[in-house]
């Protein structure tokens, strides 16, 4: 079966039903291993002490808030270019999850910053650009709610998502382009990670666990959105059939 066949919502729902239990189980297993490594295997940092343990949730949340927006950007291209039936379902479903990951990254970063930097917040490039990302997520969620027709809302949100994607390279390279309290990249570097393996491995396990959690929640949210559109289509069909005259013959597309 080709990837394109999953454009059919019913086939996609069947796919979700098969895949979801396995993904959920693997995600829980990786979280158990990752949390054990984070608290009982990974050593203290020689400067930060135990506070470095905040990194095992802060960094994955920060990666995921950007990955989620990247998924929304690809979905938006799918909406505008290929008119893929599930593209705007994917984008709409990802937005609240991305907002939650961005919230986690901001809060854990703030709680890490206070003991290490002496402040919860500074208006530097990295922190401000991530806050802009959070506001983008909230704006997109609001836009979807303000338009009743999901197809029109999907197109408008896709355009706004693509404009907002300009923020992704700003977030990534802000620590290189401007002076900032935030440390530069130490894992995703051209010359390899600069973190000791004892700290790197728990971080990578937690990152994979967070990634799987994103996919589990995203698939569940997409399934809900498909069901919501079916409810809407059935209600419109029922309302249309109840009206006398030629309008009653109209059948809304699902």
């Amino acid at each position: 079966m080709a990837f394109w066949d999953y454009a059919n919502p019913t086939r996609f729902l069947r796919f979700v039903q098969v895949v979801l239990p396995w993904l959920t189980g693997l995600c829980l297993l990786l979280f158990a291993v990752g949390l054990y490594m984070s608290f009982f295997v990974a050593p203290e940092d020689y400067q930060q002490g135990d506070t470095v343990r905040i990194m095992y949730i802060h960094v994955p949340a920060a990666w995921l808030c950007m990955m989620c927006y990247s998924v929304m950007t690809l979905s938006s291209i799918g909406t505008l270019v290929w008119k893929h039936p599930l593209a705007d379902v994917s984008a709409k479903s990802a937005a609240p999850i991305g907002a939650a990951f961005t919230f986690m990254a901001l809060v854990t970063g703030s709680l890490w910053g206070k003991p290490m930097w002496g402040t919860y917040w500074v208006w530097d490039a990295r922190l401000t650009s991530v806050l802009v990302l959070f506001i983008m997520y909230l704006g997109l969620m609001t836009l979807w709610r303000t338009m009743e027709d999901p197809i029109k809302a999907g197109k408008a949100a896709a355009v706004l998502t693509l404009v907002g994607a300009l923020n992704l390279p700003i977030i990534k390279f802000s620590v290189d382009w401007w002076n900032t309290l935030h440390q530069p990249a130490s894992v995703m570097r051209f010359d390899g990670p600069t973190i000791h393996p004892d700290i790197l491995w728990p971080l990578l396990v937690m990152a994979v666990a967070f990634t799987l959690m994103f996919f589990v929640l995203h698939l569940m949210a997409m399934r809900n959105e498909i069901l919501r559109r079916r409810v809407r289509a059935l209600r419109m069909r029922a309302a249309s059939a109840a009206q006398p005259g030629p309008a009653g013959a109209a059948q809304p597309a699902e």
Binding site: L13, M104, R228, R230
Partner: protein, 60 residues
């Protein structure tokens, strides 16, 4: 386990993340229940899809 002088910051970080994840899980679970209930209510009124659903949801 001794988390040092900044234990409060570490525990608050993990606690807030756990809370956020629980809210996300509750959101998707409750939304699924609401949509399935709406579909089943419509099916009870005789309003069904032309091609019956044979996936995970009980709509007819």
């Amino acid at each position: 386990m001794d988390l040092g002088p900044h234990a409060g910051f570490i525990l608050a970080s993990y606690g807030l993340c756990l809370l956020t994840v629980l809210v996300l899980i509750a959101w998707v679970r409750l939304d699924k229940v609401a949509q399935e209930k709406a579909l089943n209510d419509l099916a009870d009124q005789g309003i069904k899809r032309a091609r019956p659903e044979d996936g995970s949801t009980q709509v007819s």
